[in-house]
Amino acid sequence: MREITYMEAVREAMSQEMRKNEDVFILGEDIGVYGGAFGVTRGMIEEFGPERVRNTPISESGIAGASVGSALTGMRPIVELQFSDFITIAMDQMANQAAKIRYMYGGKGKVPMVLRTPSGSGTGAAAQHSQSLEAWVTHVPGLKVVQPSTGYDAKGLLKAAIDDDNPVIFYEHKTLYKTKSDVPEEPYSIPLGKADVKREGTDVTIVATAVMVQRALDAAAELENEGISAEVIDPRTLVPLDEETIVNSVAKTGRAVVVHEAVKRGGYGSEIASMIAESDAFDFLDAPIKRLGGAPSPVPYNPELEKAHVPQVPVIIQAAKETLIKA
């Protein structure tokens, strides 16, 4: 199969939808000839022109709101935010408008839009350009939240997000943009709400998101050398969450580690851990559920500190082993 980068997969998903459906367009800051802050839209303005690859002023609230309004009146906008931290500025439009319009209006109207944005640390961009704030939006009923970890998943999930009639927050990871994977050329869709078992195992379940998926897989490979069989699950979409796949896995292994890059306190891992504890899998647990997440500080600039802020492979290995010791 053809190998392309995560970034190319995102671009291809958008381009294929835009060729097919005139209602789909993209808007955002510097997405025209510049190609966006990370180059995701490079070449798109040449193919689709400035009407459908719409360069905007630096006005996150304005462009998010214009997307909501255009979605409500028949378009299917994709809005790109340069860094996911900037959702703070667009938050009224996403949380108070996009998420609630259909419900507030008693089921009339729909808001089929995607807000794409890169999150995460690892680039030295420091505290205001490195956050993972996905838990904030998972808390708001009416929004869907997607967090792909591979190019293959990114392409299929983005098509599903564009096709969805609800507002979807689509978190890309800036350090994954250049990673390569096998991605089919033809369009395909990965349903929102379907987790992926990235590695099968029998002793411990590791639920990991975004950049942590690869780290969990690296940890699982090392654990295997020590005779420990880890199953790695990537939820892929946080809302809706594929509870069944996670619960079935934990019921099988009896142990669970939940790991994400976002600050641990109030992170989505808390939701996943609670969901496991409330489920039938509770009876199968042989050890307390472990949660791993970012340190309770802003993301630091210094590369060593930045690395220390988020879980690394040895910490995941350690956590998995701890669940086994307590058995």
């Binding site: 367009f25 009407e51 459908r52 905007t56 002023p57 006005s59 609230s61 304005g62 462009i63 998010a64 709101g65 214009a66 997307s67 909501v68 309004g69 255009s70 979605a71 409500l72 009146t73 028949g74 378009m75 906008p77 009224d92 439009q93 108070n96 408008q97 319009i101 259909r102 419900y103 507030m104 209006y105 008693g106 089921g107 009339k108 109207g109 729909k110 808001v111 089929p112 009923p141 009416g142 869907k144 009639d165 609800n166």
Partner: protein
């Protein structure tokens, strides 16, 4: 059309339509007065924001719109809804929290919407609807549709970032939107004189390179004249206009307002500029209405609201089964 020697109406509007507008203004007033009464009696819960005294700006700004045209509204939006064609019965039912209401009882006073007739919804967030209106106009532009979007907001909203971001977007993209700022002189308690350091909010249009017009918000004819020009501009692809409608809310900000921030004398001065009475005088002088006919219309409007109340009171309540429907499409 010269209605009287002092009052000239620019757009071509039939006498029948003018009479309808007169009735509509009474419907708006009686609706809000009835809501005021019910809140005072504790018959409906939540909160509400009344636009008594602002009927001319709502009715005038919507008078020239077609059903395909859109509006976005505000927390003080009952008048806008009626002006865009909403019926009082389904609105009252919504305030009563009934399933027959515009939002099946899930939205209440601040979220009445009827997308089928171009009402994209009232909004509980100050300035929250302004970017939405620009998005609606963007759809018209991209799909090459001829509708325009009238975006209502108050004086307070022009101090929100969303206002500035959205007006700038509409300007650079020359979108078919008409920004109607209803300057009713106060936010919740903050006087526009304390919160804005320009004489007219319309001057803010200069910063975005679009026309800014001051309209007499208590004069429906002036409102129609100013929106007529703005609609023409929008439909011909020349972009947005900001219209500042100078008006006054007779009632408090919401139901719990002691109105300490303004004087009773000031209220009386504005009540003397009653927009409904003013329009009636024009129509009578123009020979379009008689005093008797005007009184008949007033009574009809009052009865319409009584009928709306009856409809609302006799409508079913939602059940818990409705709680989780409509969250996602």
């Amino acid at each position: 059309m010269e209605l009287t020697k002092d009052v000239k109406l620019v757009p071509d509007v039939s006498q029948e339509k003018l009479v309808d507008l007169y009735k509509q203004m009474w419907t708006i007033r009686f609706f809000d007065e009835k809501v005021d009464e019910f809140f005072a009696k504790g018959m409906i819960h939540g909160t509400t924001h009344l636009a008594v005294g602002q009927e001319a700006s709502a009715a005038g700004a919507c008078a020239l719109l077609n059903i395909e045209d859109k509006i976005t509204s505000t927390h003080r939006g009952h008048g806008h809804c009626i002006a865009k064609g909403a019926t009082a019965d389904k609105m009252m039912a919504e305030l009563f929290g009934r399933t027959t209401g515009y939002c099946k009882g899930k939205g209440g006073s601040m979220h009445i919407a009827d997308i089928d007739i171009g009402n994209l919804g009232a909004n509980g967030i100050v300035a929250g609807g302004i970017p939405l209106a620009v998005g609606s106009a963007l759809t018209a532009h991209m799909k090459k549709q001829s509708y325009v979007t009238v975006c209502f907001f108050g004086d307070g909203a022009t101090n929100e970032g969303s206002f500035h971001e959205a007006v700038n977007l509409a300007s650079i993209w020359k979108l078919p939107v008409i920004f109607v700022c209803e300057n009713n002189q106060y936010g919740m308690s903050g006087s526009v004189k304390e919160m804005v350091n320009v004489e007219h909010i319309a001057e803010r249009a200069d910063a975005y390179g679009i026309p800014g017009e001051v309209a007499d918000g208590n004069d429906i004819v002036d409102m129609m004249n100013k929106t007529h020009d703005a609609i023409e501009r929008a439909r011909s692809g020349e972009g947005p206009t900001l219209i500042e409608a100078k008006t006054y809310r007779w009632k408090g900000h919401s139901k719990s307002d002691a109105k300490k921030y303004r004087t009773r004398e000031e209220e009386q001065e504005w009540k003397a500029k009653d927009p409904i009475k003013r329009f009636k005088n024009v129509l009578v002088e123009a020979g379009i209405l008689t005093e008797e006919k005007a009184e008949e219309i007033r009574k009809d409007a009052k009865q319409e609201i009584e009928n709306a109340v009856e409809f609302a009171e006799n409508s079913p309540m939602p059940t818990e089964d409705d709680l989780l429907t409509d969250v996602y499409a």
